[in-house]
């Protein structure tokens, strides 16, 4: 004699139908959301990794923003310095003109006045601001870095020697500024010193060639310092490339963690639908099977 089976098929059928419906819901949800993980319990480890992934993506966004700020600031600084170079080049030709001894004292006075004009021009370049902050005052960004005493023919630096450090990406930072003292009052290459020296030499008509040499030194110094900006801009643009690539990687990783391949999802849905329909069809047949009572003759 065989083992007696549970004659009531309904609970088993209902459980199977419920399970099949659940698979159908999951398949639909995956296809519509494009994700295989929709809540923590679907894949706790993937969601924990996702936390790091999203954090890194937001950081990268922020680094890219920082980079565009640095680029804008450095372009302004570099263009100011480029104008300073132009001013120094003008001063150089004025100095050469004054040094060749053909100028009358009156002409020398007028050349000196031109040099004075260049000094004011360089002063205003050295006091350039970017978004309200002085670019060349070290970290004393609210203080105009250079004041000039035209009577004593001297320049005072009101900034400081502070250098900021700005992160470009994790573990990669660059200096965010060059203090004005290093750019414009740098020892024997001092820009203001050279211009003011040339001015004095022209006014007095003495030591003009030496003053011209000083201008040349200042020009060299500024050129050398400008290299820093060029280097940083290169570094920044490399960081930008890296961050853009990192964002692509992160997005790929996110997809691998919680995404679903549309083709697979669609196949899953089709399979779940088919399974569900077959199950309902079979259940319908089983439940409508006749029993022995149906065959008993009517009394």
């Amino acid at each position: 004699m065989s083992i007696r089976l549970d004659p009531n098929l309904l609970p088993g059928l209902l459980a199977s139908i419920q399970q099949s419906n659940q698979q159908l819901t999951v398949a639909t949800q995956q296809l519509s959301s494009g994700r295989s993980v929709n809540q923590l319990s679907d894949d706790p480890a993937a969601v924990a990794s996702l936390v790091g992934n999203h954090n890194q993506a937001s950081q990268d966004d922020q680094y890219l923003q920082s980079i565009s700020t640095i680029q804008a600031r450095f372009q302004v600084a570099d263009s100011s310095l480029s104008s300073v170079v132009t001013a120094l080049t003008s001063a150089l030709s004025l100095g050469v003109e004054g040094a060749n001894g053909t100028l009358t004292p009156a002409n020398q006075q007028s050349v000196a006045a031109e040099v004075q004009g260049l000094i004011s021009q360089v002063q205003s370049l050295a006091n350039t601001t970017f978004q309200g902050s002085y670019l060349f005052s070290g970290t004393a960004v609210n203080t105009p870095p250079f004041t000039i005493n035209s009577v004593a023919n001297t320049t005072t630096y009101n900034g400081n020697a502070g250098v900021t450090s700005v992160q470009l990406s994790n573990g990669n930072s660059v200096n965010g500024n060059v203090p004005g003292s290093q750019l414009f009052l740098n020892g024997s290459g001092s820009v203001f010193g050279a211009l003011q020296g040339l001015n004095a030499a022209l006014l007095s008509g003495t030591n003009i060639p030496a003053a011209v040499t000083q201008i040349q030194n200042a020009l060299n110094t500024v050129d050398t310092q400008r290299v820093f900006y060029g280097n940083v801009l290169n570094q920044v643009s490399q960081a930008e490339t890296f961050l853009n690539q990192d964002q692509i990687n992160l997005s790929t990783q996110e997809n691998a963690l919680i995404g679903v391949d549309p083709a697979t999802a669609a196949t899953n849905l089709a399979q779940a639908t088919l399974a569900n329909q077959s199950l309902l069809d079979a259940s319908g047949r089983i439940l409508s099977l006749p029993n022995l009572l149906s065959f008993l003759p009517n009394p």
Binding site: N8, A15, L40, S41, S58, N291
Partner: protein, 463 residues
């Protein structure tokens, strides 16, 4: 020769009686085909004691000795045990799913976004430390972070309070069931005492115990005479004979949450399965553990940010103060109460010391930013600590789900086996019906023949 006249008729009458009672059983079984917990009843037929006349033994027919309800008490026990597990897991999962929704990072819900936003605002500050709008951005991000902590913690507290209400409701349901079981228990022993089939009452009792198993861990001991003694697995009495022992609830003086008492003893931590255990587990372990991780995160972050801000110089040239209101020293409630200590953006100390610092210096802003990569939360970075919490929450629900699924299959299997023993099969009942009908017809035919024989005999003596 007088026995010849009456005996066959008596014998047939008894037989007809027996057959119609068997038909009654078939009807009862068919009528209860869909009754939950019903066990099919079968007749136990016995040949009645024969009579001895001279050297001959004459049969005296058949007797319906008893009716048995077919059930397997070991299966019943296993079903109850699995039901307890399911009850516990279902209760855990139902609230667990609400908890994990608070941290659903797959759709951007949770603390990662505000946590990251706080640090990116510091990163922004680092590129432009003197800008007042950028500084305001840091305060806004800090406020959003505090709000996120406050809301998450408050949502968890709400879930905890709701679960606390459910604990009280479960206790009430348990008491209602034990009082019904006690009543049925009495009926079982009184019916069994009379030697009759107590099966229908046992069905009813098993059905009630199964419902009780869904709520709490039940252990049953046969007290003899058909009576069952029910206790929790920790030994707290629930039903003894006709008496039920109510569980009670009482607010815990420290937590304010309802503790479960039996006979004056606090058994809250001794309840091991069933819905009540799942609710207590969520309320007293899962939610407090998450709250405490959030508190550690909130207080560790607030303290580190405050300490670092104090090390720097603010935009006014003064030494930095607190950004966040200092959290409680032991950290308890830090997430719920996290708040900003200042609304003045100049108070963020971006510059290094000593005062007056300088407006464009970002040394301390960088140091604040660097906190994101430092192990300031129980030996982990803030983000890793949070990711760990997310994993724990997801994993707890996920393992409960897989246990529930596995246990559900076992339960279904057991119920199938139970159905195999106790379930009513319409085909089987129909076959019996036909069999009894045929037998009844045969007996009736025999009595017609005896009747006609009797008539013939009577006619022989017609005057």
């Amino acid at each position: 020769m007088s026995w010849m006249n009456s005996a066959p008729m008596m014998l047939l009458e008894r037989y007809l009686d027996g057959t119609s009672m068997r038909q009654t059983l078939v009807s009862t079984n068919i009528a209860n085909v869909d009754t939950p917990g019903y066990s099919r009843q079968v007749p136990n037929l016995e040949e009645t004691t024969p009579v001895q006349i001279g050297n001959n033994t004459f049969g005296t027919g058949v007797d319906l000795a008893s009716v048995t309800s077919l059930r397997d008490s070991v299966l019943d026990l296993r079903v109850n045990q699995e039901t307890q597990q399911q009850g516990q897991l279902n209760a855990f999962i139902s609230t667990g799913q609400q908890i994990q929704a608070l941290f659903n990072e797959t759709n951007g819900t949770g603390l990662q976004a505000p946590l990251t936003a706080f640090f990116t605002s510091l990163s922004q500050l680092s590129t432009n430390p003197s800008d007042i709008n950028t500084r305001q951005g840091v305060l806004t991000a800090a406020q959003n972070l505090a709000n996120a902590f406050n809301q998450t913690s408050s949502s968890l507290s709400t879930l905890q309070r709701n679960t606390d209400l459910s604990v009280t409701q479960s206790v009430n349901q348990i008491n209602a069931l034990t009082s019904q079981i006690a009543a049925v228990n009495l009926q079982v022993s009184s019916v069994q005492g009379t030697g009759q089939n107590a099966g229908p009452f046992i069905d009813q009792r098993q059905q009630l115990i199964n419902q009780l198993s869904n709520l709490v861990d039940v252990s049953s001991i046969d007290a003899g005479n058909g009576s069952l003694t029910l206790t929790t697995s920790g030994g707290a009495p629930l039903v003894v004979n006709g008496q039920n022992f109510n569980l009670t609830t009482q607010a815990d003086p420290t937590t304010g949450l309802q503790d479960v008492y039996s006979q004056g003893t606090n058994i809250t931590t001794k309840i091991t399965s069933g819905q009540l255990a799942g609710q207590i587990q969520i309320r007293d372990q899962e939610i407090p553990a998450i709250q405490s991780s959030l508190d550690a995160l909130a207080s560790g972050l607030a303290n580190s940010v405050n300490t670092q801000n104090q090390a720097g110089v603010d935009l006014n040239g003064a030494a930095g103060g607190n950004i966040f209101v200092p959290p409680p020293a032991n950290g308890v409630g830090a997430a719920a109460t996290l708040a900003l200590a200042t609304t003045d953006p100049t108070k963020i100390a971006a510059s290094a010391g000593p005062p007056p610092g300088s407006a464009g210096d970002n040394t301390n802003a960088n140091a604040l930013l660097a906190l994101q990569n430092q192990n300031i939360i129980n030996g982990q970075t803030p983000l890793n600590s949070y990711a760990g919490l997310v994993y724990k929450i997801g994993n707890d629900v996920s393992s409960a789900l897989s246990n529930q699924q596995a246990g559900g299959l076992v339960l279904q299997q057991l119920q199938n086996l139970q159905g195999g023993v106790s379930g009513v099969d319409i085909n089987e009942e129909s076959a019996n019906l036909v069999r009894y009908q045929n037998a009844y017809t045969a007996a009736a035919q025999v009595s017609a023949v005896v009747d006609s024989l009797l008539l013939t005999t009577l006619n022989m003596v017609t005057p």
